[in-house]
C-alpha cells in the first residue's frame, strides 16, 4: 500500500517547483542598470519591455561585444542591484507575501576587450530564511572589428556556468530561464532536475561573421559537489560528473532594423556519472530554434520564438524494477519545446504567452506512477515597466510590476491524479500545481 507521506512530500515539492519556476522566469537575466550607466543607453534599447529578459538586436550586439560598449565618458562603477517582492497565490496551499529575492550584479567592462556579467542572488527559501548563491556568470574576452576578407567579424571567448546563457539570440532555455518544467528534462533545460545550470564551468569560443553568421564551440565540466555547496547550492541538485563534454551552436541572424529573424541549431553532448559513483550515461542534446521580432518604430514590438530540443540518452544505470518481468529501458529520449509570444507597447506595457511541453520515451520503471513523464504547461505574464526609456523619468533604473499565471494541463502524463494516489487518498490534478503571482521588482 502506498504511504501517504511520500505522496504529500512529492506534492509539496512540485508546488514549490511551480512557484520557483515563476520566480526564476520572472527575475533572472533582466536589464542591468550598470550597463545603462556604462553606455548611456536606456534599458529599452537592449530590452523591448525596458526590463528584459528578451533582447533586441541591439542588446544582442552588446552581448556579443562582450559587454564592453561604452559612451566613452569615464569609468563607471559596474555594480547594480535588484530587489523583488511577490505575492504568491498557489492553486493549492497557503498564499504568501514576501521579499523573494535580492540580487547583486557585477556587470560591465574592464577594458575595451574584457567585460562580463556576474549575478549573486539571495533567495528567500521560506520563513524569511535567505540563501545566497552565485547565479549566472558570463565573462568575456572579445576582438571587435576584425577584417576577414572584405567583411567584418567579431571573435570572443566566454567563460560561463550555464550552457546557452551566453547565447546572443537569448531564446535558449538557459537565457530565458523558461524551459518546460518536468520530472526529467534535457541538459539544456535549467528547469530539469539535476540540471547543469550554474553548477558547471566552461569556456566557449565564438565568432560573428558579417553581422549575420554566428558560430560557437566549447566545453564544460561540473563543479565538485563541495564547491557547489560553497557557492550556495544544495548537493542534492548535483548534475553529476561530466566527461567529454562538447557544446556547439550555429545561427543565422538578420537584423533588418524594423524586423529581425534568426534560425539556429544547438548541440550538447556529454558522458555523465549521476550519481558520481557511475557508471556513465551518454547524453546528447540536439536542437533548433527560430525567432522573429517586429520592432518598427519601437512603439509596437512583437517577439516570437520557438525552441525545440531533443535529448538522446544511453543510460548507464538500470534501476530496480518494482514490476516483476519488466525492466527499465537502456535507451530513451526526451523532447523539450517552448513557443513564446510577447507584445510590448511603448516599451512599457507587455503581454507574454508561452506554451511549454516536455515529452519522453515511455518507461514504466523510470517514471512513476504511469511510466510517462510528460508535462504541458503555459505561462501568461502582464507587466508594466514605467522607466528605463530615453524620455522617461530615469533611464538608469527601473521598476517592473507583473502579474504571472502558470498553468499546468498535464503532469506525469496525466491531467488528473498526477501522482497516482491510490483509492482513499486525495488525488492531485495537474491544475492543482497552478500558481498565480503578483510581483514587483526594482533595479538600480
Amino acid at each position: 500500500m502506498l504511504n501517504r507521506r511520500p505522496l504529500r512530500r512529492m506534492h509539496r515539492v512540485y508546488l514549490w517547483l511551480a512557484a520557483a519556476l515563476l520566480l526564476i522566469a520572472s527575475t533572472s537575466a533582466q536589464a542591468i542598470p550598470a550597463y545603462a550607466r556604462q553606455t548611456g543607453n536606456a534599458c529599452a534599447d537592449c530590452h523591448a519591455g525596458a526590463y528584459g529578459p528578451a533582447l533586441t538586436p541591439y542588446g544582442m550586439r552588446f552581448k556579443l561585444n562582450g559587454y564592453t560598449d561604452t559612451d566613452s565618458n569615464g569609468v563607471k562603477i559596474p555594480v547594480s542591484a535588484q530587489i523583488t517582492g511577490a505575492r504568491n497565490v498557489p492553486a493549492e496551499g497557503k498564499s504568501s507575501d514576501e521579499l523573494t529575492e535580492a540580487d547583486v550584479y557585477i556587470a560591465g567592462r574592464a577594458t575595451d576587450n574584457i567585460g562580463g556579467y556576474i549575478k549573486i542572488a539571495t533567495d528567500n527559501s521560506g520563513d524569511n530564511k535567505f540563501n545566497s548563491h552565485l547565479s549566472d556568470v558570463d565573462l568575456r574576452f572579445v576582438l571587435k572589428d576584425v577584417n576577414v576578407g572584405k567583411k567584418e567579424a567579431t571573435f570572443g571567448v566566454s567563460v560561463n556556468n550555464n550552457p546557452g546563457f551566453q547565447d546572443p539570440v537569448s531564446d535558449l532555455f538557459a537565457s530565458t530561464q523558461l524551459g518546460p518544467p518536468d520530472v526529467t528534462g534535457s541538459l539544456l533545460n535549467p528547469s530539469s532536475p539535476n540540471s547543469l545550470a550554474e553548477r558547471v564551468i566552461g569556456a566557449t569560443v565564438y565568432g560573428l561573421y558579417d553581422s549575420d553568421w554566428y558560430g560557437e564551440i566549447g566545453t564544460y565540466t561540473s563543479l565538485p559537489v563541495s564547491e557547489q555547496d560553497r557557492l550556495g547550492y544544495a548537493p542534492s541538485g548535483d548534475p553529476g560528473k561530466l566527461g567529454d563534454t562538447g557544446y556547439a551552436r550555429f545561427a543565422y541572424m538578420k537584423d533588418l532594423k524594423k524586423q529581425f529573424f534568426s534560425a539556429g541549431v544547438v548541440a550538447l553532448t556529454t558522458k555523465r556519472d549521476l550519481p558520481r559513483t557511475g557508471p556513465p550515461e551518454d547524453v546528447t542534446d540536439l536542437g533548433y530554434d527560430l525567432t522573429y521580432q517586429f520592432i518598427g518604430n519601437r512603439k509596437n514590438i512583437v517577439q516570437a520564438s520557438f525552441v525545440n530540443i531533443l535529448e538522446l540518452r544511453h543510460y548507464g544505470i538500470l534501476p530496480a524494477s518494482p514490476i516483476p518481468g519488466v525492466t527499465a529501458l537502456t535507451q530513451g529520449a526526451v523532447h523539450d519545446r517552448t513557443l513564446s509570444l510577447t507584445y510590448t507597447f511603448l516599451q512599457t506595457y507587455s503581454v507574454s504567452i508561452a506554451h511549454l511541453e516536455s515529452t519522453a520515451t515511455r518507461d514504466v520503471v523510470r517514471y512513476e506512477p504511469y511510466g510517462i513523464p510528460d508535462t504541458t504547461s503555459n505561462q501568461f505574464i502582464v507587466s508594466w515597466a514605467p522607466f528605463g526609456k530615453d524620455d522617461s523619468f530615469t533611464h538608469l533604473a527601473n521598476l517592473k510590476l507583473s502579474a504571472i499565471w502558470f498553468r499546468f494541463s498535464q503532469f506525469n502524463g496525466a491531467s488528473q491524479n498526477v501522482f497516482g494516489a491510490p483509492p482513499g487518498f486525495p488525488p492531485t490534478s495537474a491544475r492543482d500545481l497552478d500558481a498565480f503571482l503578483v510581483m514587483a521588482s526594482v533595479a538600480f
Partner: protein, 133 residues
Amino acid sequence: MSKLFSASFLPCVAAAGLYLGGALMSPFALAGDAGAGSDVFQTECSECHSVKEGRNKKGPSLFGIVGRAAGTAPNYKYSDALLQAHWVWTADKLHSYLSQPARQANPGTKMKYDGLDDPKQLDDLITYLSTIH
C-alpha cells in the same frame, strides 16, 4: 562714416545670415515630415544616439546637430577622423553623410552605419533633427 559702415556692413551681415540660414534650413530640411522623421530616428539612430542635450550614448548627442561643427558635442570622445573633419553639420552635409556608409563618408570614424538609401526617409529624418534645438 556711419553711412559708409551701414552701406558696406549690413549687406555682409545679411549675406552671412542668408548663408547661415541656408545651412540650417536647406531644402532638404524643409522638404521632410518631422513626425515621420521621428519614427525614422527611432528605427535608424536611437540605439546609438540620444536627442537629449548632453546625453551621449555609443554616439554623441544629436541635440542641436543641424548647424553644429563636427566633433564638438561636449564630453564625447570622438575618433581622430571626425576631429579632423572641419565641417559643419548642415542639412546638406547630413544628407550626403547619411546617404552612404559612414566609413566611406568619413574613413576612420567609429560610427557603424550602412547608410539610408531612401531619400524620403532621409529628408524626414533631417527635418526632424533640425527641430531638435
